[in-house]
Every structure is written in C-alpha cells, then in structure tokens.
Symmetry: C2
Subunit: 197 residues, 2 copies
C-alpha cells in the first residue's frame, strides 16, 4: 500500500465522524502521524475495546458493558421511566442529579423523511416494562423538535391505555436566555403553558 | 474493563486530536459505538496502517512510504527547493501546480516560547542538500507570522554564505480580499513591497 493510499484511507475514515469534513479529517490524519507508534496503537485499541465491551442494556437499551446497566440494576431507583432519544441524553439527564428513576433509550425518533417509522425505534420493550415493572410514570424527554414531538405523541397514545401516567418535559424559554432573541414558536409555547405563581 | 472505563478511555483518546474538546470527543465516541464492528476495525486498522507505512522522506522529510518520496525521486524536477513548515504545506503548494521544484519540510519553526530552537527543526540536512545537489534557489515558504519570519531570516543567513539564491514568498494583500478589512501590518507590507507595473 503506498503513501497516498494509506493516507487517503485514513482521511476517509476520519471523515466518517460526525461534522468532520475533508479538511478537518486531514488535520486529524497529520496529527496522528506525529503521534508515537504506541500512542496510535492505544488510540486504535481504545476504539476496538469500546466497541467490543459496550453493548445495549437488556432493560433500558442504554450503552453498558453488563447485561443490565448500573442504573437499571440499582434497587433504590423510583418506578419512573424517562424516555430519551439517545444514550448521550441519559448522560445529560444524569448530570442534573434530580431525577432518581430509570431510563429508556429509543435509539432514534420517528422520522418519515429518513424512513424511520414506529417499528424502527426501541418502543415495544417500553410497553413490556410498563406492564411488568409496575411503573408509575413515564416522562417523555425526546427533543423539542418536530420529530421529537411526534414521537412523544405516539408514545403517549401507546401508553395511556395501560393506565400509566405519561408526562412531557416542560417547553418554554430557556433559563438565562433573553426574550428578545427567543424564537416565536418557543415564546408561543411559553405563553400557552404559563403557570400561576 | 467496565463501561465507564472503556468509554472514558475512548473519549480521552479522541480528545487528543487537534481542536477536539470533551464534548466533541464524546460525540465521536458515541458515533463510533453506532458503527458496525467491521467499520470500527477498519477505522482502527487505517490508523495503525498509516502510522506503520508512512515515515519521512530521506531527502526532504515529507511524509512518504518509500525511502525517497515521489517528488524527490522525480528526475524532471527543477533544482529549486521550497522550504515549508509542515507536510500539509506541501499538499497546499502542490495544489497550485505552478511550482516544479522539490520541497524541504522543517517539521516546525523556531519558537522560543515553546522552547523550539534552531536545532529542533530539520534545517541541517537542507545545508547538505544545497551543497551537494547543486540547488539554484531556495524559496522560504514558512507562514507569514512572527515565528515563520524569524525562521525564514535564520535560514537565509545560514544559506547565503553558500552562494545560493534565497527568496521569500511575497507578502501583501490576499487575492479577493478587501482593503477595508485588511490589517495594518499586511497593508504596510503590501505598500513597502510594491512593484512597478
């Protein structure tokens, strides 16, 4: 394999990373060549090890190296499930330290434009969990965009017949933001969802 | 190794890439987990292969997989050497398709603040090349910043006693730019280096 080939191949591989274009991929590739052989091996090894060790939790489908993840196997958790789109949303929620329930990761949202229907997201196992685990509340925390809203509606319609309380995270003006720069849709939502003080 | 460890390790490895912070590294790591096992293996393999195959050219120190790179081993090249800071500068120069000489990669510039002195850049072999290869001109194409200028001055002083013509790439207003937004130092350089039409 000659230089152009192995270099081009490396640049192509780096280009696969999210929001990495050709120029950035080239910078990453040149940086990699300035690293020591051991460092490059460590880097490659970390990629393979992570992929080998980490799979999805049998209960909530979050990434874990165990059969059931630490959150799901913790007996002190309340019987409340927070439904999120992706594993990184769990990380974001856990940072808040105010939620003491478990999670359910959909691994996507309903998105007809991308050909993703209700059967392409991890929602069936949520129904089983609600019936079998004695869950009291399901908080739908998908993103506040069109797809997230549609998915939230779909899940609510699916769960309500089971008699479980289904809630949606509040939508309104973000803390620390300024009304002046807040978009009209958000302001309208903040007005219609206003609460008594 | 548990999930936190292998995930944290992967995020740390991605953080080493230039201008990649913790957040971006996390996005890369999560993206990697959504790739297939084969894709992750290909990615890791591309890193190791590139590091194994690519080293520096014996003559010009540019990255290559041969003992002497394609440019240096091309007998049709003119006896002109373009001195650049990094291998990616060679890529930039080659895109112009107007220069038909060879290159010399310094792998850095003189930068006292970072503890880089004249002995830390690849300049000794340039002296040997100039004496032995019958080079007619050395174009110093280091970046037009303080370190690049200092390095250019250093190289010029080193080479002139050998009787070789030493030139510096022109500095002035960039093509397509507007005078209004050009900084004073560049304008001053453009004025003092003005040429008769």
């Amino acid at each position: 394999m000659n230089q152009i080939d192995s270099m081009e191949r490396l640049v192509n591989e780096f280009s696969r990373l999210p929001s990495v274009g050709k120029k950035t991929a080239q910078r990453f590739a040149y940086h990699l060549l300035t690293m020591s052989e051991q460092e490059v091996r460590d880097f490659a090894d970390a990629c393979i090890m992570a992929k080998e060790c980490i799979h999805t939790c049998k209960v909530c489908s979050n990434f874990t190296d165990k059969e059931i993840c630490d959150i799901c196997s913790n007996p002190k958790k309340e019987p409340i499930v927070c439904v999120v789109k992706e594993p990184k949303d769990v990380t974001a929620m856990e940072k808040v330290r105010e939620f003491n329930g478990t999670y359910h990761v959909l691994h996507g949202v309903i998105n007809p434009l991308e050909g993703k229907g209700p059967n392409d997201i991890n929602v069936r196992s949520l129904l089983t969990r609600v019936s079998e685990e004695g869950i009291k509340e399901v908080i739908v925390a998908t993103n506040p965009d069109v797809e997230g809203e549609a998915t939230a509606m779909y899940i609510a319609n699916l769960l309500k017949p089971l008699g479980v309380k289904v809630t949606r995270i509040a939508q309104g003006v973000a803390m620390g933001s300024e009304l002046e720069f807040t978009d009209a849709v958000t302001l309208s939502k903040a007005l219609s969802s206003r609460r008594e003080m």
